[in-house]
């Protein structure tokens, strides 16, 4: 009997052949991330522009016209004068003719010059709450500009001069490209790993491998190695496109990102392994993996929605979503140039999760084989 240490290699090679022979899996691995990147990068724009603004001007004076001009002076709003009845203004929202209504009172001009303090009414269509918040923020911004320009009489106690760091133009792509890396890495690592192992169980080939001298850990290492490689390749591809096409900055250390990405991939692989020890068919594996990776990563990790503004219970759940930590890591390294010391907490959380998942998965993997 000739022995060689290449049993792991034999398993990895076979796994690669599966991927190469199946164009669909190649499509999932390489085309899907790029499609998502382009979709998120170009189509999904969080900024709102050209908001229809209906103006009801009861004052009709120089000052009120200046206020409307102030709203015109940027591409957030598209103001127009509304000539209809006040009692029917809701029709503007219902017919989608305006999303913001500005009502300027009759004595606007007089009161503004006398006291420097007037109220204008602003109505906002918040059927989309995020957009509503944005529109409110834009309105405040415009009105502040107006006050600064014309309200010279009033001395503000202090003056806010915000400067926006790390993403001065507030580009969505800075936010999405790192997020997409987090999503793709967890999907490939957890989803594909759990499917590939349950497939062998389903087809009975796992049994054939287990009667050979291959050890369980050799099976696991051999099977996950190709997917680690794929995950890295994919992550690199997304970052490359992000940096080249969307000009996402890369401030921090490449080595640190590679190191912490490896940790994150290991966490996801352990999760996939864990899933494969619980379920016995590919279909269930896919469903469980999607439910435990794709959805939490998109919804609960801070990928799109800020964790701090979630209901408390969801905030607690977010603690067990690995992407939550990895997002802080990758955004921190890319946009802020974070160092390892600044990311120690996130690293420790990922380490802890990996240790728990991997230990349980390995124990379950071994005992399941003996049933």
């Amino acid at each position: 009997m000739i022995r060689s240490p290449n049993r792991i290699f034999a398993i990895s090679r076979k796994e690669f052949l599966h991927i190469i022979h199946d164009p669909r899996s190649l499509l999932i691995i390489f085309v899907m991330p790029i499609a998502q990147l382009v979709m998120f990068g170009y189509a999904l724009n969080m900024e709102i522009q050209n908001i229809d603004l209906a103006v009801i001007d009861y004052s009709k004076t120089e000052y009120s016209r200046r206020l409307v001009q102030e709203f015109e002076g940027n591409n957030f709003f598209r103001p127009y004068y509304y000539e209809g009845k006040y009692s029917e203004i809701e029709q503007l929202f219902l017919k989608r003719e305006a999303r913001v209504i500005l009502i300027i009172e009759k004595d606007f001009d007089k009161n503004y010059q006398l006291t420097g303090s007037v109220a204008v009414q602003i109505l906002i269509d918040a059927a989309d709450p995020n957009a509503g918040t944005m529109m409110k923020y834009y309105c405040n911004f415009v009105i502040n500009n107006f006050n600064e320009r014309y309200g010279g009489k009033v001395l503000l106690p202090f003056n806010v001069q915000p400067r926006i760091w790390y993403n001065p133009d507030l580009k969505s792509s800075y936010f999405f490209v790192p997020g997409l890396v987090a999503l793709i890495l967890v999907m490939i690592s957890a989803l594909l790993t759990s499917i590939t192992i349950t497939r062998e169980k389903e087809m009975g080939t796992m049994e054939q491998i287990l009667v050979s001298p291959v050890k369980p850990r050799e099976i696991i290492i051999g099977k996950v190695l190709p997917y680690i490689l794929m995950a890295f390749l994919d992550g690199f591809l997304i970052l490359l496109i992000g940096v080249v096409l969307f000009n996402v900055p890369f401030e921090g250390s490449y080595l640190l990102l590679i190191f912490l990405s490896t940790l994150y991939i290991t966490t996801a692989l352990s999760l996939g392994l864990m899933i494969s020890t619980i379920v016995s068919t590919q279909q269930v594996a896919m469903m469980v993996a999607l439910a435990s990776t794709l959805l939490p990563t998109v919804m609960l990790s801070g990928f799109i929605f800020p964790i701090k503004s979630m209901p408390v219970i969801l905030q607690y759940i977010s603690y067990v979503v690995p992407a939550k930590y990895y997002l802080i890591i990758i955004r921190g390294i890319m946009l802020k140039g974070n160092t390892l010391a600044q990311l120690a907490t996130q690293m420790l959380f990922l380490l802890l999760m990996t240790a728990i998942l991997l230990r349980n998965a390995l124990v379950r993997f071994k005992t399941n084989l003996e049933k």
Partner: protein
């Protein structure tokens, strides 16, 4: 004979699944070079028996040695010395014939040169040399079955376990397969086979008939027929298992 001279020996080997006893105190001794058959209805305990001997399942009680190695303590040694083929054939349909052979050679740690040589021999023996780069999915079941057997023999093990190797295969391919088993046996290998086909039972050197986890008869097909004064193994089986009253449908139990 002591256990090292036997290919397989079990003493009161037992396996329980919760309260269900799948294999109940089985004692068998199989000599080197023997074709040893396990006959029984579905659920009689044949597969559980084979799985314990292959190291896929831990026994609940009793002793067993395979190739002289203990199933509890030396399962790694056992794995080097056995080949295993199940009714599922365990080939990867999406890989080519050649890739399947290379994979199974690879997990047994065969060197590249040896693997190439064995692959060449196997392809020739199975008659698939011209189709080495075809997907396994596209070849007929009979070929798949012989290929699977070849893969189980790549590392030249002295003992071969076959778990219902002929289910789902037409009679002609079954006969061809048994010719291959005889050929393998002539090379000095011990063959341990489970089946529920009565005609196949006749091909074995010795048979053990199982029911409810127990071995209820063990002898050569000739002796069993003599003992029960029957013409065929089918009648013997009906006599032993169902007390003569069982219904048999075309020899398939």
């Amino acid at each position: 004979m002591n256990s090292s001279q036997l290919a397989v020996k079990t003493t009161d080997l037992t396996r329980r699944f919760k309260k269900f006893i799948a294999v109940d105190r089985v004692n068998i001794a199989v000599a080197h070079g023997e074709i040893f058959g396990f006959l029984g209805a579905n659920g009689a305990g044949k597969t559980t028996m084979i799985r314990m001997l292959c190291g896929l399942l831990k026994p609940s009680a009793g002793q067993a040695t395979v190739a002289g190695f203990d199933v509890y303590r030396q399962s790694e040694k056992i794995k080097q010395n056995i080949g295993y083929m199940s009714q599922k054939f365990s080939l990867y349909d999406d890989l080519t014939i050649s890739e399947n052979i290379e994979f199974y050679g690879g997990i047994y740690g065969l060197s590249k040169e040896l693997l190439q040589k064995r692959k060449h021999d196997l392809l020739q023996q199975v008659g698939l040399s011209a189709f080495a780069d075809k997907l396994t999915h596209d070849i007929p079941v009979g070929f798949k079955q012989r290929l699977a057997l070849g893969c189980a023999l790549l590392h030249d093990p002295p003992i071969l376990f076959l778990d219902e190797p002929t289910s789902g295969v037409d009679p002609r391919a079954r006969r061809a397969f048994w010719n291959l088993i005889y050929h393998t046996s002539e090379l000095g290998k011990t063959i341990f086979v489970t089946t529920h086909f009565m005609d196949e039972a006749e091909y074995c050197h010795r048979l053990s008939i199982m029911r409810d986890g127990k071995v209820i008869a063990l002898d050569s097909p000739g002796n069993l027929k003599k003992q029960y004064q029957k013409e065929s193994m089918q009648e013997v089986f009906v006599e032993i298992v169902a007390g003569g009253q069982g219904l048999m449908i075309s020899g398939h139990y």
